[in-house]
Amino acid sequence: MDTKRLVPLVALFLLLIVLVVLFFTGGKEKRLAPDTSVAVSESGEGVIEERPTKTIVLYFLSDNDYRLHPEEREIFTDIPEVDQVKQTLEELLNGSLNDGLSPLPEETRLREIFFTPSGVVYVDFSRELYLNHMSGSAAEIATVFAIVNPLVRNFESIQRVFILVEGTERETLNGHIDLTRPLLPRFDLIVGGLLKNFPELP
């Protein structure tokens, strides 16, 4: 084999390596849009179609105030609403993409979600929601409304959220906020939101 025939082969080989490297490194920078947002069609012909998505808002915490700080995510909309809610809470459990502190304790898992016709959604978390929770009123308020606010904000069919732990009702996380009723959102806790400390009292 002489060198003249080898040159194009080596060039082709190098090109292949460059392509492989690009394939694996490219796209990793933009984690916002999930890698699978472009999916292979069900016919399996290799035809590529865009899955429909929508932008939702989640809330994380800061060490400098006790407000809820919004962050956007994309979720798929070609799946049942209950799975969209699951995606939303999974994104919340995955944590902030900026430097936001997580409102949910470590190792907390989402167990199940139930819709009711009355606009109440039941969200069931694993026991870590209270076992690994730091307690304290401010921390409990943050955790509870970081769960309630995005569900009501992003899903028109949801008006209230009932938080369950291990499939059952829990009085409070660790002694403060009442979890025995379905909760309305508190948008006044969001940074820049209207502070509503003194609503008109009956």
Binding site: L61, S62, D63, N64, Y66, L101, S102, P103, M134, S135, G136, S137, A138, A139, I141, A142, E171, T172, N174, G175, H176, I177, D178, L179, T180, R181, L183, L184, R186, N197, F198, P199, E200, L201, P202
Partner: protein
């Protein structure tokens, strides 16, 4: 004859004395102080390992002794040592003692280490405006019902008073304002204003009720302060001062 008059006079004096004795304690109003958490339920933890339940008790005891020293009110604690007391039991203690005011004492916690300062909360019903109006209406009209329930019907009373606080939000807000003002002045902390949240402990209390977060145990500086006699005394004095102003303004009730 003379002896009979003396006997009668003594009898009358004795009757007056006895009736005074028995009337006085009934007229004396009760303040219920609730040291947050206790027993296995430890509350928030500091970075140095201090527990909320061990901070709330000494502050509550100090507040009790200040009130007893300066005012003619009876003070009842929901716990006076390190024991578990359920939230329902705590509000039942307030209701069964016909509390005039209920004050729950806590130390705050938040992720990170910067959160600081004192805050006073009163109940947020977490209800729509219309629901809140209805709850207040129902609770306002159910006071007679709760008095009908006998001594050995704690369960019935607790059910009746499930949302009792709805009828006392205005007074609770006033009490919270007065206490928070004193905390800001005395501790020279940044004014955070009074806050509202759906606290389980407050929902069933059938009298003006607030929850005071004296400082953040999750903040290492404040955790250290919370352990000192001085800070605990200052906080107790501030809460007392706010309470005293509230009582002054609501004497005729």
């Amino acid at each position: 004859m003379r002896i009979k008059i003396i006997k009668a006079a003594v009898l009358i004096l004795a009757l007056v004395f006895v009736s005074r004795l028995s009337v006085f304690p009934q007229d004396q109003k009760t303040i219920v102080i609730d040291p947050g958490h206790g027993g296995l339920e430890v509350g928030a933890k500091g970075k140095f390992g201090n527990l909320e339940k061990n901070i709330t008790l000494p502050i509550s005891l100090k507040l009790k002794s200040i009130i007893e020293r300066k005012l003619a009110y009876r003070v009842v604690l929901t716990r006076d040592r390190d024991v578990d007391v359920s939230l329902e039991r705590r509000s039942a203690i307030a209701n069964n003692n016909k509390a005039f005011v209920f004050i729950s004492i806590h130390a705050n916690g938040y992720p990170g280490r910067n959160a600081h300062g004192s805050e006073t909360y009163f109940l947020n019903l977490n209800a729509t405006d219309e629901e809140a109006r209805r709850l207040a209406y129902v609770e306002n009209n159910s006071t007679e019902l709760s008095q009908v329930a006998g001594e050995h019907q704690d369960d019935i009373m607790m059910i009746l008073w499930d949302m009792a606080q709805a009828a006392y939000l205005k007074q609770s807000s006033q009490l919270a304002e007065l206490i928070q003002h004193e905390l800001n002045t005395l501790l020279r902390t940044r004014n955070r204003g009074v806050k509202q949240a759906p606290f389980k402990i407050l929902t069933g209390v059938a009298c003006p009720a607030v929850l005071v977060e004296v400082a953040f145990i999750s903040n290492p500086d404040e955790e250290r302060k919370l352990l000192t006699e001085n800070f605990q005394n200052d906080v107790a004095e501030a809460i007392y001062a706010g309470l005293a102003k509230y009582l002054e303004r609501n004497l005729d009730r």
